[in-house]
Symmetry: C2
Subunit: 199 residues, 2 copies
Amino acid sequence: MYEGAVQDLIDELGRLPGIGPKSAQRIAFHVLSADQAEVRRLVDALTEVKARVRFCSLCGNIAQEELCRVCRDPRRSLATICVVEEPKDVVAIERTREFRGRYHVLGGAINPIAGVGPDDLRIRDLLTRLADGSVTEVILAMDPNVEGEATATYLARMLVPLGLTVSRLASGLPVGGDLEYADEVTLGRALEGRRRISA
Amino acid sequence: MYEGAVQDLIDELGRLPGIGPKSAQRIAFHVLSADQAEVRRLVDALTEVKARVRFCSLCGNIAQEELCRVCRDPRRSLATICVVEEPKDVVAIERTREFRGRYHVLGGAINPIAGVGPDDLRIRDLLTRLADGSVTEVILAMDPNVEGEATATYLARMLVPLGLTVSRLASGLPVGGDLEYADEVTLGRALEGRRRISA
């Protein structure tokens, strides 16, 4: 519909996740009227990410060097590994400032329908990291959905026999939530995982 | 939160209209795992748009040459000009395949709150185009909202005394709409603009 270059940009933007045709058009018009410098910065950021970012050779998190920021940090405990699905989960947990161990990023979750099996995840690398005995605890921090549960169950079955402390993130009511509006599965989990209050 | 290049990309994406922090993060991760070629195409499209696209020197529509596609087309009538607010409105009207005249893009609408007055729009250029008398009809195709109405009223007051046929797009029920759910202003316009059916 638009002349060459504008239509090309709308098409390319429309391929990005979560960008429909109307958003793509809106962004294209924004780019058209934006400062040359602003567009330059976006182009540079795109180019830089592809040129410089890779995955940590140890944990699979995103990194700009051989190792990611967490694996490079000598203050982080080597005794605990938190296993997550994706690099963005690392950021979510880092934001809590509650965890001082290292991570292991699987690169997804077991999902037979999408054809993702245990061999497609970085499970072998995890076992290699556990081999020298310095890790004593593994926290399974998969998403609380069917695929995440399946992955956690699979890993727990593999790790518990190794004599490690294996735990799963607590499931229950979100803080600030409302009991009345909680779905029954979440409320059921909250009941099941109730914690005794010591006097 | 993320290492250098990834955070830079998230920040730049977050500056685009309609992209919040979560979408920016999602797109950044898509870019990270996308083919080098796909990212290259997006980067090229962004660069090309800034390098090649400009505004038609006659009508103000987006163009890749001195004149836009419509103004270059000798089959388009010179007698009718359709005045719109933005280049995307040209595309919307072209899509109907009902209009065979030329366009004039104002670059916005009169909006005193946002500080946009008649002098900020391409109204002087429109009067210049009308000066030689080859144009006989002007269609005012502003958006049917307060700013669009104000702009249309302003232009009509200026153009009618020149002896031109001046019209405004019909306002009424959208095709496929439901009378019951129409808002009262739209329904009022539909009544006001009712058309007699000849036997």
